[in-house]
Assembly symmetry: C2
Homo-oligomer: 214 residues x 2
């Protein structure tokens, strides 16, 4: 298939596909001659994945490239590919380490992981971007005067652990379909917006159930 067909079947304009090719998000097609390149089903699938990451997952173009690089890195075992890909996803900016709220939040979150017994996560606290996000969000809440303590977070964390178990089960049941770490990346990039949407719907539902429209 040529560029025009790839564009039509994916719903992405040729100009944008060219842009992705230039940025190295999409592998070049098989070059037949100076003015013709052939694309296959794998290109189409990859393009759909890229679009989903950008539009649904709101992942920046540069980050998509990095994430896909990790996904394709055959030298890494599966769990590490997922880890590397997730670590590349955009997170909150580095906090000011001197800030008292940040320091307090960090200690509280380390305590949280200890309480939960998440030993792997505990070992990663110094470097994990997810842990950093957690600290930054907690610090922001504390700065606003909310005592967001480990005890408050423990039930949230246990629920998210159950969500992660569902993720893993979904992955396992689909390994045959696309055996790459792609499924894992989708599990983060596309499932997160769904969780967010479900969370907001659940809040509306619960809020209406409790308080009605008073």
């Amino acid at each position: 298939m040529r560029l025009a067909e790839l564009s039509e079947r994916s719903g992405v304009s040729t100009a944008t596909i060219k842009y992705y090719l230039r940025e190295g998000l999409l592998a070049p097609g098989h070059q037949i001659n100076t003015t013709t390149a052939e694309y296959d089903e794998e290109h189409l699938r990859r393009l759909k994945l890229i679009r989903a990451m950008i539009q649904v997952g709101r992942v920046p173009v540069a980050t998509v490239k990095e994430v896909l690089g990790h996904v394709d890195d055959d030298s890494l075992p599966r769990a590490m590919r997922l880890g590397a890909a997730v670590w590349a996803l955009p997170q909150v900016p580095e906090p000011d380490a001197d800030d008292e709220f940040v320091q307090g939040a960090r200690i509280a979150m380390e305590e949280l992981l200890k309480t939960l017994g998440w030993s792997n996560a505990q070992a990663m606290t110094a470097v994990s971007p997810s842990f950093r996000s957690l600290v930054v969000a907690t610090a922001a809440l504390r700065r606003l005067g909310y005592d967001w303590s480990p005890e408050t977070l423990v039930p949230y964390a246990r629920l998210m652990r159950q969500v992660a178990e569902l993720d893993m089960e979904f992955m396992e049941s689909h390994v045959s379909e696309a055996e790459k770490a792609e499924v894992a990346v989708l599990g983060v990039v596309l499932v997160e917006p769904m969780l967010q949407a479900l969370h907001r719907l659940a809040q509306e539902e619960e809020s209406t159930r409790r308080y009605g429209f008073e």
Copy 2:
């Protein structure tokens, strides 16, 4: 307090505060004369909230204004203020209604809400931005060949319902502190990044527990 002090105590540059004032995010200070305005603790608190929404919640400036407008709308009851504020939050763009995947996803998600018995959410399917996000994400997954059916989502939705219950409990326990709908907005804008971070940490933990570093 004058502008300089507001800047120092919030960690936001005077130029940026002026920008927020211009954009109408922050109420003007009490004007003493042509060249002096006085700000109070409420301004400081509001500024911290704005910063948290922008930096941690990644909410665009224009949206922050809209959300705060709903939060301050005394003519609405609490549940509706929360709803209005959440609806103003950025969501995925309007999907192509003609797309077959979008249509299929919409039907599947309506079925999901029916199964869950979320009657309020069900009544809102036509307009709720959260429902739309859910449909768009599901359609993207289906387009990639994953049969993401209502049955797969039910356990996720039940877990998010439990999360929403925790949110409500947190809100109730803090009504005294800042009785406005502010707490509810925080519950969405700041809790979501925390949930996301916890989700990713839980995935890492669960992935390592199951597969180690093979």
